[in-house]
């Protein structure tokens, strides 16, 4: 079960897979995947086991099968730091989908040298504008008109929910605050930045296979 919100008459689907889908544009938005993170740690001499990259890539593959997708937008922090072999695996994987455009709006962790990026099938932008309705970027852009929804990532939002019997859950969430919609991190090995529910914001935690709005 997904959650649907509407902006300027256009529907946005918040999926439990921690991604955003905009049916009108057939666009899939993915934020903060942080691929290559473990490989980077190993390069720096930390003895973590290597990642099973294929498992991660399959998560993308399943989404591409399920929805009709023309474009995939990575909202930054796609690859954690400089080159390692996990990048090659990722790049090879993208080649399986020649009919899909892959776009990256650059984030603070995307330090991969432009040589690698140019060779890849990725198109790299600072931000992406969809008509006069949406702007997609890694971090919020200041001074936008309030009629434009800025879709961003970067902070890995999460929310703590208390339930009866003094139990607690920490859940990743979509986070809407005035005209900024922040996506949860897609990456498996990422943390959460906890957001508090206020009158002005809307939080959509991912609860198992569902996305539910916190009221």
């Amino acid at each position: 079960m997904k959650q649907r919100i509407v902006w300027q008459g256009i529907m946005l689907d918040l999926l439990a897979q921690k991604v955003l889908y905009i049916p009108q544009y057939q666009i899939l938005v993915i934020s903060d995947w942080h691929l290559g993170k473990l490989g980077y740690f190993r390069q720096e001499g930390l003895f973590v086991p290597p990642m099973r990259v294929q498992d991660e890539l399959d998560r993308l593959g399943q989404l591409l099968q399920k929805e009709t997708v023309q474009k995939v937008i990575f909202l930054g922090d796609l690859f954690h730091s400089v080159w390692n072999r996990e990048w090659d695996d990722f790049e090879a994987y993208l080649k399986q989908f020649p009919h899909i455009d892959f776009i990256l709006t650059k984030g603070n962790h995307d330090l991969l040298s432009s040589v690698f990026l140019k060779q890849s099938s990725l198109q790299v932008l600072d931000y992406l504008k969809l008509d006069d309705v949406f702007i997609l970027s890694h971090e919020p852009i200041a001074g936008l008109s309030s009629t434009i929804l800025n879709i961003v990532g970067h902070i890995h939002p999460g929310v703590g929910v208390n339930t009866k019997g003094r139990q607690q859950f920490r859940l990743p969430c979509f986070y809407l605050n005035s005209n900024v919609l922040t996506l949860p991190a897609f990456g498996k090995w990422t943390g959460l930045y906890m957001i508090k529910k206020t009158e002005d914001n809307r939080l959509f935690p991912i609860v198992g296979n569902d996305v539910i709005e916190l009221t």
């Binding site: 973590v48 390692n84 009866k164 003094r166 139990q167 090995w189 943390g191 609860v207």
Partner: protein, 816 residues
């Protein structure tokens, strides 16, 4: 026998104690050993003059000395604290000055400037006074073996304090290396009385290294008094602050010269300091605060003022537990349960420091039931019950750090080092296979089968393993040690004056403009810049108090025994202590609302409140055991119906709280508490994984998986920042047999669950009659447990169905 000591003692007009003479004699015979003596009787001199006599009088050594060009390092004196190092430095330096000896002594701690360290390397003094971490830092430098080649003595001060920690393992490892470099090495430990002194000596000296034990037969006089509230009725049932007794505490302070007021946490010390100053403004200027988060500058000022007798009282934490003598202190106050007998005695010993003076300690309970611990403490002290210090074994995290340390230094031969560490208590049981796995982690970044070409840590050069990357070496030197702390934020005024540091997670909860207490001042947060919180003084009335980590100690098993003994006295007709007589009305209330268990009875209460359905059980077995027993009980209940609990516990009992009702009767509860299959139920029922995950935080830090950053500088390699929880998940997923992961689980079973103690608790309970009651509201026993803010979870409902429930609640279909 010891001419140098004779002269010096004669000049001072002192008579040496018997234990001092014994120690001199043992040292002069070239022996190693352990010295057990109370503070204030000159235990430092007992060893120091042994050392001096060897340097100036030992014939064999003198011959050897002649052949050396210039002075070489003769003695390492290792203490757990920088403050203590300074104290030892002053005392020993004074001897050299008084007797005009050319025996040079220098300090080598984290405070020592780089230039001084370099000088110490080029022209070493005869003695270095240092910390375990600094010794490892020297081992992590080129030419370390050469530097230590002429070392004759290692003295480990306050060994009891190091023994039960991973810093103790650092000592064991350093000694294994130093013994190999110099087979003539004499090793001496200094220890307060603990339950396992003999073992402490064996571990310090290591396998096959003989030694003697010297015990001082000096008893210090100790007076313990419990501070009672005027009326039991107005005293709270729960809580850990103790502010209600503030007036009485101030009365005591006024009766003595200088008082140390010990609290259990740093935040508690801030609260006490604020309350005293607010209610007794005349204390301004003569009351100070001292805890581990304050800047060195502030702490040194407090310590200096204490020495000079300028202060009436200091509110402090364990930061003043150790070592250094403050002569003017003649009274100690302990706020709240000291959680252990040894700690209580140690704090008591901070007063009446001079030989043959009486130590006064006042125990201030923070809630009604805690009053009984006054009775327990006196019982424990009079029966000489003291805790053991349980040493760590098989700490692979420290081993990985040590191997990297050696690789950063001179490099090492794996086989040689393996033989050396096998001589230590900590690693005597590790197998060749396990050592190989450690090496594989450092060489290949995992088990050698999945060798990965982009991994570089250790490289073999001319048969020795070395770290070649300068960046890695630098990072490693900065992370040497076995204390892992949270990310700290520096607290500063606009002007730049530095007050101290607070855990980042606390500051991150504050907004600009919020007011909090720190360093005994009320401060307003102006802004957070990098890792600095900029503040200004504030006079606003309402403040947030820092609630720092730490201080969530559990009571020691030995104090637990003493407390059970006290509770067994409740029903006695006569000979009851003052504490128990005072608590009589509370026990009456407990009896009225529910029941009061006799010594061979176990009380169980089932209470329904607006919070849910509570099951309270009171085995009086200490918090640690209760946590485990509660999980087993929750698991067994869960086998009957799907259910989720939140669990709280304290020293007396535990609580299972469920949002949904469950049925309970005498048969069922008897069955639930059965001693059969405890082991299976622990393994199946306790969320060991979650406990191990928490343990893993320290392990990852020590092993070098999590880099804490460069001191005082913002992390440059922000990309390397990852919390240990992430690494734990990665290992669980991709490398479940990893040694560090296994270590986390072993530590849970050894130190947290204490399976043996749990089994004994179940066995004991099975001989008891169960008293099951259904009170209609909270009881005096129940309330303090219910009020514990820290809770564990238990659920046998799968994640999915718990999420379903959460969903219903979020959708408003289930009232919250």
């Amino acid at each position: 026998m010891n001419p140098i000591a004779d002269v010096w003692f004669f000049n001072q007009g002192w008579q040496p104690h018997k234990f001092q003479k014994k120690t001199w004699s043992a040292v002069s015979k070239g022996k190693s050993g352990l010295l057990n003596a109370p503070t204030g009787f000159g235990k430092t001199f007992a060893l120091w003059f042994g050392v001096l006599q060897h340097y100036y009088g030992d014939k064999r050594f003198l011959k050897q000395r002649e052949r050396l060009k210039g002075p070489k390092l003769h003695t390492l004196w290792i203490t757990p604290l920088r403050a203590l190092s300074k104290e030892i430095y002053k005392a020993t330096q004074a001897v050299s000055a008084d007797l005009e000896l050319d025996y040079r002594i220098e300090l080598r701690t984290g405070d020592t400037p780089v230039s001084a360290r370099q000088k110490q390397r080029k022209s070493p003094p005869q003695a270095l006074i240092t910390t375990p971490e600094s010794v490892h830092l020297i081992l992590a430098s080129k030419g370390a073996a050469d530097y230590f080649k002429n070392l004759e003595f290692v003295i480990v001060d306050e060994w009891h304090e190091l023994l039960g920690s991973k810093r103790g393992v650092l000592i064991e490892l350093a000694l294994s290396r130093l013994k190999a470099i110099n087979p003539n090495l004499k090793i001496w430990g200094v220890s307060a009385t603990i339950g396992n002194l003999d073992e402490a000596q064996e571990i310090l000296l290591g396998k096959g290294h003989e030694g003697v034990m010297v015990k001082a037969d000096i008893q210090k006089k100790l007076v313990i008094e419990t501070v009672m509230p005027d009326s039991l009725e107005k005293f709270p049932w729960a809580g850990h602050l103790g502010i209600k007794l503030l007036d009485k505490v101030v009365d005591i302070v006024n009766r003595f010269g200088t008082t140390l007021i010990f609290t259990n946490t740093r935040s508690q010390s801030e609260i006490w300091y604020q309350h005293i100053i607010n209610q007794y403004p005349e204390f301004a200027g003569v009351l100070a605060i001292h805890h581990g988060s304050l800047s060195d500058e502030i702490r040194q000022w407090v310590e200096q003022s204490l020495h000079e007798g300028k202060l009436k009282a200091v509110v402090c934490t364990s930061s003043l537990d150790l070592g250094v003598d403050f002569r003017p202190v003649d009274c100690v106050i302990q706020i709240g349960s000291p959680k252990g007998i040894a700690r209580f005695l140690q704090r008591a010993g901070r007063s009446g420091h001079r030989p043959y003076e009486t130590s006064y300690i006042y125990y201030v309970p923070t809630n009604s039931l805690e009053i009984i611990e006054g009775d327990s403490l006196k019982y424990a002290v009079s029966h000489q019950i003291v805790e053991q210090r349980i040493p760590y074994i098989r700490s692979f995290d420290v081993l990985l750090q040590y191997l990297t340390t050696l690789a950063v230094g001179d490099g090492f031969d794996a086989e040689v080092i393996f033989q050396e560490i096998k001589q230590t208590h900590c690693y005597e049981s590790i197998s060749n296979e396990e050592f190989k796995q450690c090496m594989a982690m450092l060489i290949h970044g995992g088990n050698s089968l999945s060798a990965y070409p982009d991994f570089h840590r250790l490289v073999k050069v001319d048969g020795l393993y070395k770290v070649e990357s300068r960046k890695l070496a630098m990072r490693h030197r900065l992370s040497i040690g076995a204390i892992v702390s949270d990310v700290m934020m520096r607290v500063k005024f606009m002007s730049g004056k530095y007050l101290g540091s607070i855990e980042e997670y606390f500051i991150s909860r504050l907004k600009a403009g919020d007011v909090f207490w720190f360093s005994g001042r009320q401060l307003e947060l102006i802004q957070v810049r990098n890792l600095e919180a900029v503040v200004k003084p504030s006079s606003r009335k309402t403040g947030v108090v820092p609630s720092w980590m730490g201080g969530r100690f559990s009571i020691s098993p030995d104090l637990g025994i003493a407390i059970r003994h006290s509770f067994s006295h409740i029903h006695k007709k006569s000979g009851k202590s003052r504490e128990i007589r005072f608590l009589h009305p509370l026990f009456k209330e407990q009896e009225k609302r529910s029941g009061l268990p006799k010594e061979d009875e176990l009380l169980v209460e089932y209470i329904h409140t607006r919070y849910g359905y509570h099951l309270f059980v009171y085995p009086f077995d200490g918090k640690l055991v209760h946590e485990g027993v509660a999980q087993v009980l929750a698991y067994r209940l869960g086998k009957l119906q799907p259910i989720s609990f939140s669990i709280a516990s304290n020293e007396y009992g535990f609580e299972l709280l469920s949002p949904t009702p469950f049925s309970i009767d005498l048969d069922l509860i008897t069955q639930l508490l059965s001693p059969a299959h405890v082991h299976q139920d622990i393994s199946a029922g306790i969320n060991v994984q979650e406990m191990a995950r928490r343990r893993f935080r320290d392990i990852a830090g020590i092993a070098g998986l999590v880099f804490q950053g460069y001191p005082g500088r913002q992390m440059k390699g922000k990309h390397l920042q990852a919390n240990a929880g992430l690494f734990f998940s990665v290992f669980e997923d991709y490398d479940p047999h990893n040694l560090l992961l296994r270590q986390a689980y072993d530590e849970v079973f050894d130190f947290q669950l204490e399976e043996g103690r749990m089994q004994r608790a179940f066995d004991r309970i099975s001989t008891h009659k169960i008293l099951l009651t259904f009170p209609n509201r909270m009881t005096p026993f129940a309330f303090p447990i219910f009020s514990e803010s820290f809770r564990e979870k238990y659920s046998n409902e799968d994640w999915q169905s718990r999420l379903e429930k959460l969903k219903l609640q979020l959708e408003g279909k289930l009232d919250s």
